[in-house]
Symmetry: C2
Subunit: 357 residues, 2 copies
């Protein structure tokens, strides 16, 4: 009977081995490198990538690890597109409109002047064909792109003097980059871009007359409210959505469960960033108006807004005329905005207007 009992014990040992091995044997660890445009520990925007890495690691039980490199590490805050495209990084966290020099149609997936609010734009991205159009643009570059977190409505900026009419915009030196800067230029202003670290001094020394940054949550620490008494409400970035860029080959290497974990995690932390932005803006605006009660919140006059809208429409028409995909995206956004805004008008807008502030 010995041989049999010996075989039995070997079979039992073998089964024990099989039961104890799997967790070690099955769970290959995947490591992805993420480059973000922001400095280390940047509020809200940097929290979003940290949240992503944390929940992905927990959900995958340690099988998917994301290492985050901030601007200080990779030294190329506006090189994310190239680095992810080349596979130097697997993931990027940045803003799509930074890449309009790489692909003019990247412009449309962050926010547009006089465009959709955040809930309207999430409707467009996820239920109105926006995500598919964004995929179409980035597929040409071997990348995937997903919404990456919303700042909410951005303020129109800090002005040292009140803007009462179009005349006040003539020659106005303002830090306002991108498409909104082009709109301002058509109205006779002189838009410039200036690095973040030099903004306060430039405004203080009248090198510029005005600037836009983000909103109370990120403006407060910059101190602009101490030297510019007019805080204009927004028109140019009603729903700035960051994005995650992913190298297609890096994505394809992941097993499907980890792809889904990454996809859902990106979607969830992006929405979270919107809630966090709302929260931090509320808190910071409360501080600013308490400590600096003389800050005057202004909206541009009808004359100025009409001229801006006209310039904006002209610029969009020029882009649409040049490129069929640009036209497809612009038309999709315009059609969506019309329906969504009609709903906003009888829901949130009517509600807010029916109450005293």
């Amino acid at each position: 009977m010995r041989p049999i009992s010996s075989r039995l014990s070997m079979i039992l040992g073998c089964l024990l081995l099989a039961v104890s091995l799997p967790l070690v044997a099955a769970e290959k660890v995947y490591r992805l490198k993420l480059a973000e445009t922001w400095p280390p520990n940047y509020p809200i925007l940097g929290d979003t990538t940290k949240n992503l890495a944390a929940i992905v690691e927990k959900m995958s039980n340690g099988r998917l690890i994301i290492r985050i490199d901030s601007k200080n590490k990779h030294k190329a805050p506006l090189g994310i597109f190239d680095m992810v495209k080349a596979g130097q990084y697997d993931i990027g966290h940045s803003a799509s409109y930074y890449w309009k020099g790489k692909d003019p149609n990247a412009l449309f997936f962050t926010t547009m002047p006089f465009g959709m609010t955040t809930p309207e734009q999430y409707g467009w991205f996820y239920y109105g064909g926006g995500l598919e159009l964004m995929e179409k643009v980035y597929a040409r570059h071997g990348m995937l792109s997903f919404p990456g977190g919303n700042t909410g409505n951005q303020m129109g900026g800090w002005f040292r003097k009140e803007i009462k009419s179009l005349d006040d915009l003539q020659g106005l030196k303002m830090r306002i980059p991108g498409f909104a800067g082009e709109v301002f230029a058509r109205l006779g202003a002189s838009p410039t871009n200036i690095p973040a670290g030099e903004l306060y001094t430039s405004l203080e020394r009248n090198t510029i007359d005005a600037l836009e940054w983000v909103g109370p949550a990120l403006d407060l620490r910059m101190g602009f409210h101490k030297i510019a008494p007019y805080y204009y409400t927004g028109w140019h970035e009603p729903a700035a959505e960051l994005h995650f860029l992913i190298n297609k080959k890096s994505w394809d290497k992941l097993p499907s469960d980890l792809q889904e974990i990454l996809r859902v995690a990106m979607r969830s932390v992006a929405y979270d960033m919107y809630a966090q932005s709302y929260h931090e803006n509320s808190e910071s605006w409360s501080k600013i108006r308490t400590e600096f009660p003389d800050i005057k919140v202004k909206s541009f006059t009808g004359e100025v807004l009409d001229a801006m809208q006209k310039a904006n429409m002209e610029l969009l028409a020029e882009r649409a005329a040049k490129d069929p995909l640009a036209k497809e995206i612009i038309d999709s956004q315009a059609t969506y905005l019309e329906k969504a805004r009609a709903w906003t008008s009888i829901s949130d807008k009517a509600y807010l207007n029916s109450l005293d502030d």
Copy 2:
């Protein structure tokens, strides 16, 4: 040599077995039963539970399976609280304010008359202490509760006659359940609750004079716009958030990676429901106003709204006086709302008001 080669082949076989087994052996499948308040395939609300089950299964590679029972199966749409508490179901998808008879403080976690809008409320839930307060309420019942999807701002309802003054509310028979019904009752109206299937006929036959349901996306199919020409804007449910209820023991049985998968999935599909609601409301409102251009959108007059706000404050004060936890929640919401609304006023509200519709 035979015995040795036989042993060798057994060892080799054993190793092969060990390598091929792990996915099968390690991955215990967890099955959770979910009961939802809604009928099968209910639009938007029902999509949310289906989305949850689908992404949880994919992210867990089939290790976490959620079976959904709709109203037709469990026959107890308003028994979700009890069934999840008793462990008959592991998860429920419903609305917290349905349970105010079980625990008066469950009222506060769906939406409140004259309360926060959806982005304001998400700020409160996730960054302003709301989730912790909800946990405090449900821990007493051995359950966890998480936000479960937002309908967006709900409309004030369909009225057959215009409400021009408080006098028009006297004796008005209206289907409006819950806390909002209590507010209406204080103003002299007669709020009632009527099952969904009887609403259209009740309105048509003047058994009731008015009713509130949800918003265009869910109102359209009910056909109210064919028999009631006045569509009032909302005041009573500015941000109705559904919730997921989870039996604490069921939750504790899950390994931590599956808990995290479930937590993130619930959070993500809840946000998704907000985007989907926005989308469907936009589409349905577009249909209604195209096909029925005579529908008149109205907001209640200042006199009526002031009286409603006064009644609302009185009702809240009564609840706060009776229960310290109620007071804690009411104070938390009021403090948060004040700051968040100040931000909304200079951001989305100012933006929307600066543009023509």
